[in-house]
């Protein structure tokens, strides 16, 4: 676990927090301060300060109910960072050959340093990839994003049959542990039980049954099996 960084209000910190809001919003969850801080790997105090600054710059607003959302300008900037992050991940994975579970950490650093020109050259070098090594889509240069309509597993009712699309978790050991249990993108999952009041989920994968905490299930993005939702390109 990386220890929280010292808290100076740098551009890097602001960009990380902006991206955190964007990513967490993308997962369909109104998210609190703690989650943003965890994503950006800073203390909650630093995250609070950064979010205030982002609010003052008109990039982030407090949406309903209680969650943080991006303004249109905030979204434009966040998509730009996301593009640079995922292109950087591909660079580390494809060209430099780092294991797929370590590229996120490296990309967290490089994404801030790329100029628009370097970004364009990188995209050309990588032959304009569509997805990051974890399966996440890379936004196009004009900011458009092709996202398959997915929902987090923790929002599925008991009895739902779903297929795992993507796992939004950046910690290496955790991803590989899930993979060894057969919980990897493409796997079919049946939600057997959902404990009330925010308790864990009981899911069946093949013949095995697993208990997954709500927070774990929230990181697993799924598509419902019965009605395959079309990929939407706005």
């Amino acid at each position: 676990m990386a220890s929280p960084r010292p808290t100076a209000l740098t551009d890097e910190l602001l960009e990380d927090c902006l991206q955190a809001v964007h990513r967490l919003e993308g997962a369909g969850r109104g998210e609190g301060l703690g989650r943003v801080a965890a994503f950006a790997r800073v203390t909650e105090a630093a995250a609070r300060e950064a979010l205030q600054e982002l609010g003052a710059r008109g990039l982030v607003q407090n949406g309903q109910p209680g969650g943080l959302t991006l303004t249109p300008e905030g979204r434009r900037q966040a998509v730009g960072i996301l593009r640079r992050h995922r292109l950087s991940e591909r660079l580390f994975a494809d060209i430099l050959g780092l294991p797929w579970d370590r590229v996120h950490d490296e990309a967290m650093r490089l994404e801030h340093a790329l100029t628009p020109e370097a970004e364009a050259r990188l995209a050309t070098l990588l032959n304009h990839p569509k997805t990051c090594p974890h399966g996440g889509p890379i936004p196009a240069a004009d900011g458009s994003l092709c996202v398959p309509a997915t929902r987090a597993l923790d929002q599925m009712p008991a009895g739902a049959r779903v297929r795992i699309q993507q796992i939004v978790e950046e910690e290496a050991r955790f991803l590989r542990y899930l993979a060894s249990l057969g919980l990897l993108p493409g796997a079919e999952v049946r939600v057997e039980e959902v404990a009330p009041f925010g308790g864990p989920l009981l899911v069946q994968v093949g013949e095995a049954r697993y208990a997954l905490g709500r927070d774990v299930a929230a990181k697993i993005l799924v598509q419902e099996e019965e009605r395959e939702e079309p990929v939407s390109c706005p």
Binding site: A93, G206, A211, G213
Partner: protein, 674 residues
């Protein structure tokens, strides 16, 4: 005493004709097979810094001795989690002549993943297709012959809890190692992966210094998976630049053509292959879920789970209370009637009726009698219950149900398992917190375990409070302790920086626990308890006896008066036993009873002769909360560091005194004296 794993494995290999490793997923009956194959002489070994243990034992088959290495139950071999790392390391270090892979016939697909990994390492394998009876009951039939053909390894159906098929299994093992292995099975990855692997294999074939003498194919797979150990080996090689480049290139190529990292790709294809094999050898008849399975699901269903948990807890409590009390009366009565006179006689005959003989009799008569009356009955009873909870799989239901409340304390449901074990003994429970991800979780969980009444403290609560002040008072002590632990956990979660991780845990179907396994487990734990506790009980009693017989006790107790009599309202001598009890918590009550018996004769085992019920409640409350025993402090220091161990200990002393004083005040205010 656990010994270093590498050394222990080398030693075992030298002592026996053959070495066989047992591998399998968690809860597939691997321990049952191990217990059936071996006797009582089991050794445990650890790798430095790892808690997951490897068990070693020797057995005879025909005229040969066979060393059996029981690997930890895992879903895979690798470096991701501690159990997976230990399993692979011990497998490679023991260089077994064969591996027995225990498969769960009811969940073949997921179980075969591990088997494929073992075959990839190139170790001869024999498959125990276990719980075929349960598979049959669920309408699943597995074609063992077809599976044998596909895996190129003999498959023997077994029912380990009854010992069925184990002779045939061992015969196959001997057959497998004495005759040359058949050709490597035709287990292949996709064309792209095989092509990449082939290039790496050819590059590796010329090197004869491969780690653990693994085959080029095995190394190629590990390299593609990005295994850190093999990666480090390659990185440290002279003139291997080309090979390193080739490896990077192959990973990049795989990503290019398949759009996925090689590690994930291999995991996916292995799962796929395992699924295909399972589908080919299984025949499933659709049928209604088994009654047992449907009933078992009630343990986790939203409406029934919590009430059932309440019933189970009530059951545990009353079982402990009644069976423990019955054993206690029996043991103690037997000792007083039979052993006590026999033991008293030589002391009195040899040493006369002086201070020395009376002091020694404190230990060898009254001390052992008190251990039989207080510690042993409740600890023994609890260990039987704990083994039952573990072997039925109910502990996982407890983890599932408690996930949410654990979350409020920055933990997740799996922390419930060491916490329940903590109700037996805090020491192994604190070691068990290593299954939790972060240091933060381990600190919180360890503190909660320290506040969990272990069976020694339960012995004091039940043996003193329940018998003199009634079971409601005893329950109240548990309620107070539970509330304190909950408050402490929530407070720590708020104060400590960081956040918790999530729950990922397999839920097992109900398994009928085997009597043998339960008894063996209970005996193993109980034996360790007795070996550890007896010298301390004897020593503590003799020291206290010496102080009593010489009259020093009363002068030592005097400085305690302000706190014990003034603040807690209990006799200062009782306070002295509380302090001595830091050696072992049940010692508090044992010494108190010993004191009473010496003072008022053997009939005075009734505490009420010198303490009121309300005093006993305060006494037991303080004893339950304050500072864990020395063994617990030592394990806290080893696991979390001295500073944290002292902080936790100090916290519990302050808490105990505050709560004890408050309880006294409350009872005085209400005018309750029992």
């Amino acid at each position: 005493m656990p010994m270093s794993c590498h050394g222990a494995l080398q030693e075992l290999r030298q002592e026996v004709h053959l070495t066989v490793a047992l591998a399998g997923n968690p809860n597939v009956g691997k321990s049952s097979i191990f217990n059936r194959l071996t006797g009582m002489g089991v050794e445990t070994a650890n790798y430095p810094g790892k808690t997951v243990e490897v068990q070693l034992a020797e057995t005879r088959y025909g005229d040969r001795t066979i060393g059996i290495v029981d690997l930890p139950g895992t879903y895979a071999l690798g470096g991701i989690s501690e159990d997976q790392w230990v399993a692979r390391q011990a497998l490679l270090d023991s260089r077994p002549d064969a591996v027995i892979l225990v498969l769960d016939a009811t969940n073949l697909a997921r179980n075969l993943y591990l088997g494929l990994q073992i075959l990839e390492l190139g170790v001869p394998m024999v498959v125990a297709l276990n719980v075929v009876d349960q598979a049959k009951a669920r309408g699943i039939q597995v074609d063992a012959e077809r599976l044998t053909e596909i895996l190129g390894s003999p498959v023997v159906p077994t029912i380990a809890t009854r010992g069925t098929g184990l002779d045939a299994l061992m015969a196959q093992v001997l057959d497998r190692v004495t005759r040359p292995a058949p050709l490597p099975p035709r287990l292949r990855y996709s064309v792209d992966v095989e092509a990449a692997m082939g290039k790496l294999e050819r590059g590796l074939a010329s090197r004869d210094d491969r780690p653990h003498a693994l085959s080029p194919r095995a190394i190629a797979i590990l390299l593609l998976e990005g295994d850190p150990e093999v990666g480090a080996w390659l990185g440290g090689l002279e003139g291997a630049d080309e090979l390193i480049q080739l490896c990077d290139e192959m990973r990049a190529v795989l990503r290019e053509v398949r759009g996925e990292d090689a590690a994930l790709l291999l995991a996916r294809e292995r799962h796929g292959l395992a699924g295909l094999i399972a589908a080919e050898v299984e025949r499933r008849q659709p049928q209604r879920a088994l009654t047992a399975d449907r009933l078992w699901r009630l343990t986790t269903a939203p409406l029934t789970g919590l009430p059932l948990l309440g019933l189970v807890l009530a059951g545990i409590f009353s079982f402990l209370f009644y069976v423990g009390d019955w054993l206690s009366t029996g043991f103690s009565g037997l000792w007083t009637a039979v052993a006590s006179p026999v033991i008293r006689w030589p002391f009195v005959a040899l040493l006369g009726d002086g201070v020395l003989s009376r002091t020694l009799l404190w230990g060898f008569d009254a001390g052992i009698n008190a251990a039989l009356a207080v510690g042993i009955p409740y600890v023994l009873t609890f260990y039987v219950l704990l083994a039952l909870l573990e072997d039925t799989g109910y502990l996982n239901a407890v983890a599932f149900l408690s996930d949410q409340i654990m979350h409020k304390m920055g933990l997740h449901g799996r922390a419930a398992i060491p916490l329940v074990a903590g109700a037996g003994c805090n020491v192994p429970a604190i070691m068990g917190t290593r299954v939790l991800g972060s240091m933060r979780e381990r600190i919180i969980a360890s503190t909660l375990i320290v506040l969990t009444p272990c069976s020694a403290r339960t012995a004091v609560i039940l043996g003193a409070v329940a018998l003199t002040a009634g079971w409601k008072a005893a329950l109240a002590i548990y309620a107070v302790t539970f509330a304190l632990a909950l408050g402490t956990g929530i407070g720590m979660h708020r104060m400590l920086p960081g956040r918790g991780t999530g729950l990922v845990m397999e839920m097992f179907p109900f398994r009928r626990p085997g009597v043998r396994a339960i008894l063996k487990k209970t005996w193993y734990r109980f034996y360790h308890f007795v070996v550890m506790a007896t010298p301390i009980i004897l020593g503590g009693s003799i020291i206290l006896g010496g102080l009593y017989e010489t009259g020093l006790l009363w002068s030592l107790a005097r400085p305690l008066r302000p706190i014990m009599e003034g603040w807690l309202g209990i006799p200062a001598v009782a306070g002295l036993t509380l302090i001595v009890a830091v050696l072992r918590k049940e010692l508090a009550l044992q010494l108190l009873i010993t004191l009473a018996m010496v003072q008022y004769g053997p009939q005075a085992s009734n505490l009420l002769s010198f303490m009121r019920p309300d005093q006993i409640v305060v006494y037991a409350l303080v004893n339950t909360i304050y500072i864990p025993c020395v063994a617990t402090i030592a394990i806290l220091a080893r696991e979390l560091g001295w500073r944290r161990a002292l902080l936790i200990s100090t916290f519990t002393i302050v808490l105990a005194l505050l709560v004890g004083g408050a309880a006294r005040g409350l009872m005085t205010f209400l005018g309750w004296q029992g």
